[in-house]
Symmetry: C3
Subunit: 303 residues, 3 copies
């Protein structure tokens, strides 16, 4: 993060950076939080793999879009389609989200979706980000994030959209809504979700400073619920899920809705304004210039 900041300062960067991860021409993996140069993968191979165990009613959704599971429009669309399928499948009661990649859960929103794109396209992208959160935070399934790597910005949003968070006990992995560090502002529904998870004061500090928390620090403030050795993240998620599924679905679902409905309704009733906000911000000349400079910096660093 310190490096990112130094570079940001050095390059006079002040734009939309932290929700983003970007694609390099070289595809070298970069697990430093938030950003990476990543080979754009235009293949039609799925970015997400879902396995539903009919005997347990538990689906495992594996994000497998190297190098860092960037949340591109394609990725988000695939994610939402999978989520919707599972939601409508009565045999599926629980969902575990994890990553097939080494060291990273998800690096967050894909910067390439915001650079040099038309307002229409940017709006479509932002709508998909909203959709991902709405579907996840309001899911009728019991949802557990099996966080087996770093999870900044959009990756953190996905994690706190679940019912429970189990993270690899590795101090080199970090998680947080670090948007502010990079000159942008987490929208109100990111903020509301964080406040609901860690309380007002921890959220205030976290968002004003754009903090990324190491796994142990994330546990301390309640940003994740449990740390386990890296090779036990998924199995612990499975064990934990069986406890969640011991609760009658109907009562759990109504209770979850009672806890989260107000936060969800706030976005639903401001959805268009939130998209307009995002698009008008991201298409500003100054922001686009910042994005270009940032992209060039990252590319030259990789060269």
């Amino acid at each position: 993060m310190a490096n990112v900041l130094r570079n940001s300062a050095k390059f006079g960067f002040s734009g939309v950076l932290s929700q983003l991860s970007i694609h390099s021409r070289h595809g070298r993996e970069c697990v430093s939080p938030c950003f990476s140069l990543q080979q754009r993968n235009n293949s039609t191979s799925p970015k997400i793999k879902v396995d539903l165990d009919n005997s347990t009613g538990v689906a495992v959704l594996r994000m497998q879009s190297p190098p860092v599971n960037s949340l591109s429009l394609d990725f988000l669309t695939e994610f939402c389609i999978n989520l919707e399928k599972l939601e409508m499948d009565k045999s599926c009661r629980g969902l575990i989200i994890t990553s097939t990649l080494s060291k990273v859960f998800s690096a967050g929103l894909d910067i390439m979706e915001m650079y040099g794109k038309s307002p229409e396209r940017c709006g479509e992208f932002w709508k998909a980000v909203q959709e991902m959160w709405l579907k996840l935070y309001g899911s009728n399934m019991a949802t557990i994030a099996a966080i087996n790597g770093s999870s900044p910005a959009g990756g953190c949003l996905m994690s706190i959209g679940c019912d429970y968070r189990i993270m690899a006990d590795n101090p080199r992995y970090s998680i947080g809504l670090n948007e502010t560090q990079l000159g942008i502002v987490a929208p109100f529904w990111f903020k509301d979700t964080l406040v609901n998870t860690v309380g007002n004061r921890a959220a205030e500090l976290s968002l004003e400073l754009g903090l990324l928390y190491s796994a142990p620090d994330a546990l301390k403030i309640g940003l994740v619920d449990q740390l386990v050795p890296e090779d036990q993240v998924l199995s612990t998620a499975q064990d934990t899920m069986s406890k969640w599924l011991a609760v009658p679905d109907h009562a759990r679902q109504i209770t979850k809705s009672m806890m989260r409905k107000q936060t969800i309704d706030k976005l639903l009733s401001n959805r268009e304004a939130d998209i307009t906000n995002f698009v008008s911000f991201i298409t500003k000349d100054s922001i686009q210039r910042s994005l270009r400079m940032y992209l060039e910096m990252l590319k030259s660093r990789k060269a």
Copy 2:
């Protein structure tokens, strides 16, 4: 709890169970949280004993309705009448609530008030539950729960309605709003009171999973304020009360109202709808069938 769940599953039970305790034909005490078979006691002997010490201005309200201080309509009515008397008695400034029974503070709402009863009667019962909470959460007295035994569901609601909670330091005693475990949903004002006490995230986990916390775990999440050896629960409550009464009444009362008024007003302005909701739910054929099966299961277990 695990047993209750297993049995619930086994008997296909999905109804209103956790706010409830029920009466057996045999009166054997059962301190397993939430449920018990309890001899229906039609005697007119008071279920509640109140001692007001005029020298200190502190009343001790002892719940003495064996075996588990079930919150029946009679019990709640007696409770509210006593509370109202104390509230109007200017010499009474502080109230300590405790139990005369071994191992249990209160097992919560009485299941028999909801089985085979007319909608009118069910509505009357639910209104009494509301009344108990409204009177307690909004009391002008300083109120301390001296929790000398388990306190699930309605017993937990009564505890978190007080200003301060002192619990016996016994890991076999548990406390929590465990409704969800048993197929029902804690209403919004149970939820609001819990959120006000332990914060949003702990309340979310607690309610979605219907968790019962052992006394030490309850202390950790702030569901109770203090643990003391079992034989010191009441004396510690008395000592603590003297600190509360050192604060000028008027300022404490206005401050308490400032903290709690919004939560109370929310029920007051939705009271009829909340009763209608409860009655329409509890009188459903499916719920009544579940209640009957559950009662039969408990009776046969006791036989």
Copy 3:
């Protein structure tokens, strides 16, 4: 505090005491929380000293109004003028507030502003208290309280109006909104700020009992963020500020506004009513009698 309470009881005091500090004829320093007799200083020497380091963009505001930095109308006016100047100075990005006095940060509101004054003057005073909080809680600067002494009542309000709190690690220094202990009620915006800082339950306990927390206890409940040795309070604040200023101003400012706007707007839209409330309370005969008795008691104690 115990002494204050004993004296309050002894003298039948039930009025506005805790937000207050008062001036003695002898100027003997009194660091017991909330109250002090303090020589009224009519000199025109500034009560506040501001040093802005143009190389860092950080201003240090030193409160230097002996003996206890009472928040009089003059003091508050000077404070607000300085804050406004810094706010408009583009070269100033961060503000550290500290005290030049030994053992006290600020003892809170000046009781003499409320005794024997006209309603108009009382209203003017209260408006200045509101203004101090509005300017501080909503400041675009990064603000750090370097709390190098006790900080009850209004001093606590000033502290929790900042973005971050560093306190001297001295268990004899205390901090808290202790108004209730002295018969008065912290207004809703004091309460809201405290809830935002320590959460609902800790705020409830704190305000109902009018608790003052020793520095270590204040850290435990999150009322301050960090304790350091007394001689390192200011240097740690400087170091911490450099981390805050590493975050892009614009993003930090919008994020801060997103976190605090609702709380600020609540006072803005109730400002006149809040003044009317205060004035009608403080000018009551009973309150004025209490103030006079309290003043006489303190003066005789000093004699």
